[in-house]
Structures are given as structure tokens and as C-alpha cells.
């Protein structure tokens, strides 16, 4: 009996210890409650629509009833549609026009306006101000600038006895016109991101560079630009994602014309899904756009990362 008592009293602390250990190591599912509200809306509003969209792209559906499964038919139709291929090319052209311009202009503005003077503060506010305008206001402003014969541009060209380029009606210039309006509209964000990055560079490094007899250009090239490399990649990725989704400017300035010259993918999606009510086709075009953005952003990310490692 005495032996039994002893064994109980010896084993009790061990049990308590192992129970405590279990408590620490075991996942506490009740903690999930803290993230549940976010998770609920994330799944409901992002994950479900994403997979639903993928499913829709495999069906022949309209807005009024369940669709009929078609397999990859919608995709086959898309890639034989010249207008869709044109829209893809237009979108790439637009991204090519806007993303480098936004990055380089944003960086230039940030470099010039990264000062503590009053004029720099005012100019920073002015350059950022366009970002708060809605797409309708932006396109209205630029239509007034570009409008043939009466627009600001034609007035300025008129002073020199020249005819202004017809940005809204010339198929070769339409996308450039949309790109100019977009750069003007979106320059605020890259500028602010670059300004934030520039202000993170310790002043002592520039002082060391000054003592190292570094010229202004060499300081920019060897000190400033390498220091903001990550922000540069971030700006490029954000802008690729944004600009692939061109819609409002093209629709309101040119309506996709002339002759589909400025029709981007999103405008094609909108017209397929909400004008022709071919929701499956619209969803398939959306998936193509999704893949393009993903590939472009990932490629940019990996290229930049590899260069950074070198």
C-alpha cells in the first residue's frame, strides 16, 4: 500500500508537466476567432469570387441564370477573336507607355522635390493633387486639352502656325493620348513612394560621399539609386498591376476607338459581359488578364531580385 502511494505521488508531477507542455504546443483553435472576421470577408469577397470567376470562364452564362459547362471553349473563342488579340496588344502598348514614364517621372519629381523648402512642399502637394481626382474629371480635362480646333493643345500649336496632333481621333495617337492623361493622373503615388524611400537614406551616407569627392551624378548613380532599388521594384510592380487594368480613361476619352486602336482588355471584358451579356466570355478574358498581370509582376520581381543578389 505504501508503495502504491509513493508511485502515485511520484507520477503526479509528471502528469502535470506533460499537460502543461501540451497546452503550450497544441494549436489553440479558439485563437482563430481573432482572425475570423477578416477571414470571413476575405473568403466571401475575394476567394469565392476568384474561383467563381474561374468556373464562369468555363461556362456559357448570362446574368440571369445558371450557365452551361463548355470546357475551354470560351478561351478558344477568345484567342480567335481579332478584337481580343488587339485589346491584349493595346494593353501591353499602354503598359509600355505608362509604367516607365510613371517610374522615371515619379523618381525625377521626388529627387527634385526632396527638399525642406516651402516651394518644394507646395509643388509636392500640386503634383499629388491630381491623384485625388476621379477618372471622369481627369478625362474631361484632357478631352478639353486634346479636342481638335478648340482644345488647349491646338491653341498652343496655333501660336506657332502648326496643327496639333489629333490624339483622340488618330488611331496611331489615341493610346498615347490616353497614356498622357493616365501619367498626369497617376504620377502622385510613385512620387510619394520615391520621396518616402529617399527620406529613409541616412544623411551620413551623403556626407561620407561628399567627403569622398563624389560628383552629383556619381552620388545619384552609386548612392541614391541603389538605396531605393526596392522601392523602384515596388513602384514598377504596382504600376504594372494598375495599368493593365486600364478602363475608365479609354472608355471616356476614346470609347476604345478609333477602330479599336485604344481598346484595352478591361473594356473588352466590360463589353462582353455587360453589353453582350456573354458573362462566360467576359470571365475567360478576365482570367487571361489575371494571368498576364501575374506573369508580368512576377517576372519583374524575380529579375529585380536576381539583380539585387548579384
Amino acid at each position: 500500500m505504501a508503495q502504491t502511494d509513493a508511485s502515485i505521488s511520484l507520477s503526479t508531477p509528471n502528469v502535470a508537466t506533460s499537460r502543461n507542455t501540451l497546452k503550450v504546443d497544441r494549436p489553440r483553435w479558439s485563437n482563430m476567432l481573432f482572425v475570423a472576421p477578416f477571414l470571413f470577408f476575405f473568403v466571401l469577397l475575394l476567394v469565392v469570387p476568384m474561383f467563381w470567376g474561374m468556373w464562369l470562364s468555363l461556362t456559357k452564362a448570362d446574368l440571369f441564370g445558371p450557365g452551361k459547362f463548355l470546357g475551354l471553349n470560351n478561351y478558344a473563342r477568345l484567342f480567335t477573336d481579332k478584337i481580343f488579340i488587339g485589346a491584349i496588344l493595346n494593353t501591353f502598348y499602354f503598359v509600355f507607355l505608362t509604367v516607365p514614364a510613371l517610374a522615371i517621372l515619379g523618381l525625377t519629381l521626388a529627387l527634385v522635390l526632396n527638399k525642406q523648402t516651402r516651394s518644394a512642399t507646395v509643388l509636392r502637394a500640386i503634383f499629388f493633387a491630381t491623384s485625388v481626382l476621379s477618372v471622369t474629371v481627369v478625362t474631361l480635362v484632357w478631352r478639353i486639352v486634346f479636342i481638335p480646333d478648340m482644345g488647349l493643345l491646338s491653341v498652343i500649336f496655333g501660336w506657332f502656325g502648326a496643327n496639333s496632333p489629333k490624339f483622340l481621333s488618330d488611331p496611331k495617337l489615341a493610346m498615347i493620348g490616353v497614356a498622357i492623361a493616365t501619367v498626369w493622373w497617376g504620377i502622385g503615388l510613385p512620387m510619394v513612394l520615391f520621396l518616402a524611400a529617399l527620406q529613409q537614406i541616412p544623411g551620413e551616407i551623403y556626407e561620407a560621399a561628399a567627403l569622398d569627392n563624389t560628383s552629383r551624378w556619381r552620388t545619384l548613380w552609386y548612392i541614391t539609386l541603389p538605396s531605393i532599388r526596392r522601392t523602384f521594384v515596388l513602384v514598377i510592380i504596382i504600376q504594372i498591376v494598375f495599368q493593365f487594368q486600364l478602363f475608365g480613361q479609354a472608355q471616356l476619352m476614346t470609347g476604345g476607338g478609333p477602330n479599336n486602336a485604344s481598346r484595352p482588355i478591361v473594356l473588352y471584358i466590360y463589353e462582353a459581359a455587360f453589353k453582350r451579356f456573354d458573362v462566360g466570355m467576359g470571365a475567360a478574358a478576365s482570367e487571361v488578364l489575371f494571368a498576364l498581370i501575374l506573369i508580368a509582376a512576377m517576372a519583374q520581381y524575380f529579375v529585380a531580385r536576381r539583380r539585387g543578389e548579384d
Binding site: 551620413e204 561628399a210 567627403l211 569622398d212 552609386y222
Partner: protein
């Protein structure tokens, strides 16, 4: 290997005067330390010499040539910053050679200088690393290496040891002293740490409140402080100050403490106002703590600090003043003991109301 002269230099930041009409000469090959509390203007002064701050008045000359209008890179000086200021995206080799490439030094010469400096600082194995892959001490060496390869006329150090841990700080201090012997160059070192100043300097410039309080060798600064501020700032523990009334003594001023005790000093009484109140300054090592009844003034031990070779005893004197004196390392004194302190009159200083010091012979 150049002298640096500052003549009537002033600097203002808006309405705030940070350096006020300051003149100073740093001799060729001298190791000069600017010592002072935070905000006294010592770093600003260093940055003015470097060219990182402009000056509002006066002149700065390096080797006799006026440089205050020249940009930092053209003054022929190198600086080691408090936070190292290494270029984070460059390797150690690139960090060290960048300045030389900027001025078009031949690649073979750059390689030679970088390798030589790296060997001297024992960082040869780090040449292909980036600053982010190194410890604070290693970065500090690279920063010094970057300065050495330029073979400058003078080195400027802005509190370069303050970011290192205590043990590394002591080791780097010794290495800096060795480096000065090896490269034989003019060096200016800014610090608020009096031990760094005392151990490294040929001469110390003690600064306070935008002005120079005293310029002198470490022992001059310690033994014959020019002002009360210097006496308080330099030395650990700080100098004791006891209010006294000055009288005429046989071989110097005799001073009377509040309790009537008279201490004979060696301070010449001619310069003093007899009968006026002064502060008697005496360092702990000149104030011996002895058993009660055997010293000059009685008191009570309040705090005991045993340092091994000596014991510091904080004594509340019968006059009410708290002083710190020294007892033997193996002293048995404990808190609350009645003790007595013995003044070494030959090692006392007197300070007038303006803080001006008067020393014994």
C-alpha cells in the same frame, strides 16, 4: 600631416549661436580631442572643419591654406562617423576604394592601398562582404580603413567608439592610439567620454556652452583645470567643492571651512580677495578618509564604493557638505561609521564666483 587653424570661427543655426568666435590651432601630427557635454558644439566644430557645415564668420586653414570655402572632398581630410556611414550596397573593398575612384586614382594604386589598409586593420578576410554582414566593431574598422586609404592630411573622428560595447571600446581605443603612431597624421577626435580623451589625446580641448573652456595636455586639464566646469567635467569621481573663506596664510592662502577648520593651501594669496568666499576644490585622491579623530574634519560615511585597489567613501562632513574621499583598498569602513577626512592642502584649488580657478604652485 597638416596643421589646422581656426580663427575667430562662429556658427549660428537661425537665432541659435552654436560656436561663438572660437580660435584654435591643431599642430601637425597632433592627436587632439574635443571633449564636452552633449550640445556644447564639439561635433559642429568638427563638421565645420570637414566642410559639412558652413561657417558664418572667421577662417579655417589646413596647412596654411584657407579651406572654409572649399567643398568637403577638396579639403584633403577624411572623417570617421559615429554610425560608420558605410555605403550599405557596396562591399568593403568598394567602400574603401570608392573615394579613390572618384578622383581617378589608378586601379593598381587603389588595390595596393586597400590591401595595405586592410592588412593594417586585420580586415583582409572581410573585403568581399557587405556592411550588413559584419559586426559593429568590424564596420568601425572598415570606416577607419576607408579614411586611411585616402592618405588624408588629417583624420576627423566623430564619437567613433560610442556605438561599441564596453570591452570593444577599450580595445578599439588602444588600436586607435597605435594607428596614430603608425600613420603619423593629424587627428581630431570628438567625444563626451573623458577616459577616451585622457587616454588618446596629446592635447584636449574642453568645450562647454559654445566656447572653449581650456586647451591643454590631459594632465594639465586634470591637475590644473582652468575653470570650475573643467574641474567638474574631467575626473572620476568628480572633484569635491566645499565653500570656504579665504585668509592670508604663511606660504599661500589659508581657507576656513564652515565649521571653523582651517586648511593651509599653496594657492598664492595675492590674486585672491582676502575675506571673500570661494569654493575649495579637491579631488578624492587628495582627501584621505581616516579613522574618526585623526583627520581635519569629522563626518559620517554614507556610501562606500570598493574598487579593489582603493575604496571611495562618500562622507557627510560636520559642515553639512558631502565629499568623496579615498581610503585604503582593504579599508574596513562601513556605511554609518564615524570617520574623519584629511585635506592635502598642496593639491587644492580655489574657484571664485565666476568659476575661475586658482592653483597652488
Amino acid at each position: 600631416m597638416a596643421s589646422i587653424e581656426l580663427a575667430n570661427v562662429s556658427k549660428r543655426f537661425g537665432p541659435v549661436q552654436v560656436i561663438d568666435n572660437l580660435s584654435l590651432t591643431v599642430n601637425s601630427n597632433e592627436f587632439m580631442v574635443f571633449l564636452g557635454p552633449s550640445g556644447c558644439g564639439k561635433s559642429t566644430l568638427l563638421r565645420m572643419i570637414a566642410g559639412l557645415e558652413s561657417i558664418d564668420d572667421g577662417e579655417i586653414r589646413i596647412d596654411g591654406q584657407r579651406v572654409d570655402h572649399l567643398p568637403p572632398g577638396e579639403r584633403g581630410i577624411a572623417m570617421v562617423f559615429q554610425h560608420y556611414a558605410l555605403y550599405p550596397h557596396m562591399t568593403v573593398r568598394d567602400n574603401m576604394s570608392f573615394g579613390l575612384r572618384n578622383i581617378g586614382v589608378a586601379p593598381e594604386e587603389i588595390t595596393k592601398r586597400v590591401n595595405r589598409a586592410a592588412e593594417m586593420l586585420e580586415i583582409s578576410q572581410l573585403l568581399d562582404r557587405k556592411p550588413g554582414q559584419m559586426s559593429g566593431g568590424q564596420r568601425q574598422r572598415v570606416a577607419i580603413g576607408r579614411a586611411i586609404v585616402k592618405e588624408p592630411k588629417a583624420f576627423l573622428f566623430d564619437e567613433p567608439l560610442s556605438n561599441l560595447d564596453a570591452a570593444l571600446r577599450v580595445r578599439t581605443r588602444v588600436e586607435l592610439a597605435q594607428l596614430h603612431n603608425r600613420v603619423l597624421s593629424t587627428m581630431i577626435f570628438v567625444t563626451h567620454d573623458q577616459i577616451e580623451a585622457m587616454t588618446l589625446a596629446h592635447r584636449i580641448v574642453v568645450m562647454n556652452n559654445r566656447k572653449i573652456e581650456q586647451v591643454g595636455s590631459p594632465m594639465e586639464i586634470y591637475s590644473r583645470p582652468a575653470t570650475r566646469f573643467v574641474a567638474e567635467f574631467v575626473g572620476s569621481p568628480a572633484m569635491n567643492f566645499v565653500p570656504v573663506t579665504v585668509g592670508q596664510g604663511a606660504s599661500g592662502a589659508s581657507v576656513t571651512l564652515a565649521d571653523g577648520m582651517v586648511v593651509q593651501t599653496t594657492v598664492p594669496s595675492q590674486a585672491l580677495e582676502i575675506g571673500a568666499t570661494y569654493d575649495l576644490g579637491i579631488r578624492a585622491e587628495a582627501l584621505q578618509v581616516v579613522p574618526a579623530g585623526t583627520g581635519d574634519v569629522s563626518g559620517k560615511a554614507e556610501v562606500i564604493e570598493r574598487l579593489g585597489d582603493r575604496t571611495l567613501v562618500y562622507v557627510r562632513l560636520s559642515t553639512g557638505a558631502l565629499v568623496v574621499g579615498e581610503a585604503e583598498g582593504d579599508s574596513k569602513v562601513v556605511t554609518g561609521d564615524a570617520v574623519s577626512v584629511k585635506f592635502d592642502g598642496s593639491r587644492t584649488h580655489l574657484f571664485d564666483a565666476r568659476g575661475q580657478a586658482y592653483h597652488g604652485l
